[in-house]
């Protein structure tokens, strides 16, 4: 299998997953902002920080108000993690691998781009943001399902899965990072707000119901964070995603370096007791995990996308 094809499939999956996750995030963030009282220390600008777009946003926008941040995340083509940019890049990658990807999946991605373009162009997109974003999530799920159900689970598909799960783990850690925000409030008030914030965090990852079923306890910061990091069965929990990647790597040739990079993250996540590090060292820990995830990507890239002559 050609490296170029593997690389495009990997990025196609990442961008589809990024589109879905960004849509989930925006929907949840909009709700959170409605729920939290003003002046507690969460603002629209954190939404931008979450996506890793802080500097880019600061350079091109004057104020981090709702309108600008929403525009930045939805329709700003220059922001590579905006919905429109992610969908366009997913489309470009699937278009150039059309011979490999089942045609229904190609059509699904193509229709998603047309849908997003059409809705962003109409004025009503802001009023019906919830509906719009929910439909994006559904369509992305449709594409992912189509790939899982109609593509041979060969090496090509393993790269799709690696891309999807790496992107998913990455987004889960970003959303977890919101929980490290220091809430400005009195002690009694803070506890109430924190509960609300972490309930939101679970919601942003569609994890609330599964949390209830698995943990059966009141939502508190360290327990919820532990669930989103350590649970091996919940699909959007970090360790679960890493386990998926491990299964993919096993079936690929020359996987030593990537397996080693994966092992490093797995160990770090598994061996960390969230109660111990929360809240003081939580942010720093999330940072480290994100760097480690980047290490998996680098290793995948070096091994399979840019093979070089030995010696």
């Amino acid at each position: 299998m050609l490296s170029r094809v593997a690389e495009r499939l990997y990025w196609m999956a990442r961008y589809i997953e990024r589109t879905e996750n960004t849509a989930r995030l925006l929907n949840a963030y909009n709700l959170l902002m409605l729920d939290l009282p003003k002046g507690v220390g969460l603002s629209w600008s954190q939404l931008v920080d979450l996506s890793g777009g802080h500097d880019d946003f600061a350079a091109r926008y004057r104020s981090a108000n709702e309108r600008n941040t929403q525009g930045f995340m939805l329709s700003d083509k220059e922001n590579s993690s905006s919905i429109i940019a992610s969908v366009s890049l997913a489309r470009e990658n699937v278009r150039t691998t059309r011979d490999i990807v089942p045609s229904e999946a190609f059509e699904g991605v193509n229709e998603l781009l047309l849908f997003v373009r059409r809705r962003l162009a109409s004025r009503s997109s802001r009023q019906h943001a919830y509906d719009f974003l929910s439909q994006i999530v559904q369509r992305c799920q449709g594409i992912t399902g189509m790939l899982a159900g109609t593509m041979s689970h060969d090496a090509a598909y393993q790269f799709v899965r690696i891309g999807r799960n790496l992107e998913r783990a990455d987004m889960t850690t970003r959303i977890l990072d919101v929980g490290s925000a220091t809430l400005i409030a009195s002690d009694a008030e803070r506890e109430r707000l924190e509960h609300r914030l972490w309930t939101w965090l679970l919601g942003a990852l569609s994890a609330h119901q599964m949390y209830r079923q698995t943990v059966r306890r009141q939502v508190t910061a360290p327990v919820a964070a532990g669930f989103l990091l350590h649970d091996s069965l919940f699909p959007r929990a970090v360790l679960h995603s890493l386990g998926q990647i491990r299964a993919c790597l096993k079936s690929l040739p020359r996987n030593t370096s990537a397996v080693r990079a994966l092992g490093r993250v797995e160990r770090r996540v598994r061996d960390t007791d969230i109660h111990e590090i929360f809240p003081a060292r939580f942010h720093a820990f999330i940072d480290e995990v994100q760097v480690d995830l980047g290490g998996i990507h680098d290793s995948v890239q070096r091994t399979w996308f840019e093979p070089r002559a030995r010696g």
């Binding site: 490296s3 593997a6 011979d99 040739p253 996308f305 093979p307 002559a309």
Partner: protein
């Protein structure tokens, strides 16, 4: 209303199906009678079924417009063009003779240059040839063959003579459409295939694979063969993907390939670097190797020419073989056949005037209105003057061009391309067409049975290019001439 062949009027053009009003040609009798049995409605229904099949099969060609690439369905006319096997055998022999002489010429011109020393071909021609590549001098590819895949354009004039209009030796395209046309035609007219013996065309991918495999520098049972495409934006991308798939070869882009210090070509795969033996390249010479040719090319792979010269990889077609795909060199092909093979040409060249010869030039300048003027090195109809359709201003411009660079131009009389019945709405009308057979050469020469018939869908038009309103037809070489 059913078709009445007496009402079908090709004027004074040669028609491929009827010889005179109401009188079908022998080879086309089966087809003509069959079409007569169809009502207008049935005819239109079959055309619609064919259009649908093409769409379903995803047969497309890419048109670049308004900044976006559009995949258009391939326009296909259901009425086949029929050729009697006896006539075809003659054409096939002519094509084989021609490609053999062309390959001998290319091998000679990059090595001993005997034909120049013997004063058959003027050396000055090389200096003016854009497609002569000094980088290829001294190389002798396997079997002495340079043009492994050739697509020659044939046209039939008013009196029925078949002429070779040009030999496409660089990266000729269209063969995938020939194969797809046949599979659609079989769905549309199964009765006719049952009743008559029509030579098959779908063995082409296998023949192509065998030819390419024979070029491998390593004696392997399964040499690594790849198809090199400029990518998805190329108008023939469908064909590149199609042929790669049919041959079970990898479809690669320039960036997938790398030439290492051992002067061998490798492709980047998830298993690491993998040696490549044969490259069927659909990228033009000037773009295949930025190290040897255009530095700004991102479509090729640096070092490719080096690897080819070292004999570590086979390129089909070989770089530099475009030297024989030049309108002026074309005029010498009958001489090549006589010189290298000591035979008389079986297929005729279109009578041509070399503007370089003073006498011919004066004639051309005096008769621009009746001639077609072609530049030496362009393809796809670019930079041409079609005399009868030109304005005085255009003729004046070309007169200037010819006088300034006579080596660059040839002129030919305008040919009256033959016609064949074509579905227009719900009935049949004559439309002009040409024929592109494909010729494969390695140790043997293979010619497709028929080829790709292109048809100008606009009334009276002679332009058959798909990007300019051209369509295509299935081509039937009929064994038995319709007697069964």
């Amino acid at each position: 209303m059913r078709i009445d062949w007496k009402q079908y009027d090709p004027g004074d053009f040669y028609d491929e199906v009827i010889s005179s009003p109401g009188q079908p040609r022998a080879a086309a009798r089966g087809l003509a009678n069959y079409l007569k049995s169809l009502s207008d409605q049935q005819l239109a229904r079959r055309q619609r079924a064919a259009d649908l099949a093409i769409e379903e099969m995803g047969v497309t060609f890419t048109v670049y417009s308004e900044g976006e690439n559009i995949d258009r369905a391939w326009p296909f006319d259901i009425i086949p063009r029929v050729i009697a096997i006896k006539e075809w055998q003659q054409i096939e022999a002519g094509l084989k003779q021609r490609i053999t002489a062309l390959n001998l010429f290319i091998e000679d011109i990059y090595n001993a240059k005997r034909i120049i020393k013997d004063k058959i071909f003027p050396e000055a021609m090389l200096a003016g040839s854009k497609n002569y590549l000094p980088q290829c001098e001294g190389v002798s590819p396997r079997f002495g063959v340079w043009a492994h895949i050739c697509g020659s354009d044939l046209v039939r004039d008013r009196d029925g003579t078949v002429y070779v209009l040009e030999d496409n030796l660089r990266v000729p395209s269209g063969v995938s459409y020939m194969i797809e046309n046949r599979s659609v035609a079989k769905r549309v007219f199964p009765e006719l295939f049952r009743r008559q013996t029509i030579l098959p065309v779908d063995d082409y991918p296998a023949a192509l694979f065998d030819m390419l495999a024979a070029l491998s520098p390593r004696p392997l049972d399964y040499p690594e063969i790849v198809v090199l495409t400029p990518g998805i934006y190329n108008s023939a991308y469908f064909e590149h993907a199609y042929l790669a798939q049919q041959m079970g070869a990898e479809l690669v882009e320039g960036s997938d390939l790398v030439v290492c210090n051992d002067d061998c070509v490798y492709m980047r795969t998830i298993d690491g670097l993998q040696r490549v033996d044969v490259i069927y390249r659909r990228v033009n010479d000037e773009f295949i190797d930025p190290e040897a040719f255009r530095e700004d090319s991102v479509l090729g792979c640096p070092g490719l020419l080096r690897a080819w010269r070292a004999g570590n990889v086979a390129l089909a077609n070989a770089p530099g073989c475009g030297v024989a795909d030049d309108k002026v060199v074309y005029t010498y092909v009958p001489d090549f056949i006589r010189y290298y093979l000591d035979e008389e040409p079986i297929l005729a060249n279109v009578p041509s005037y070399r503007c370089e010869d003073a006498g011919a030039r004066d004639y051309v300048l005096a008769n621009l209105k009746d001639l077609v003027v072609k530049p030496a090195n362009e393809s796809g109809g670019y930079g041409m003057l079609v005399g009868p359709q030109s304005t005085a201003k255009e003729r004046e411009k070309f007169a200037g061009l010819i006088q300034r660079r006579p080596r660059n131009y040839i002129a030919q009389p305008t040919l009256a391309l033959s016609t064949a019945p074509t579905v227009v709405g719900r009935h049949l009308e004559p439309r002009h067409l040409d024929l592109r057979p494909f010729i494969l050469s390695a140790q043997d020469v293979y010619v497709t049975a028929g080829g790709l018939t292109r048809v100008a869908l606009r009334k009276g038009s002679l332009v058959v290019n798909s990007s300019q309103g051209g369509g295509s037809k299935d081509t039937w070489v009929l064994d038995g001439g319709g007697r069964r």
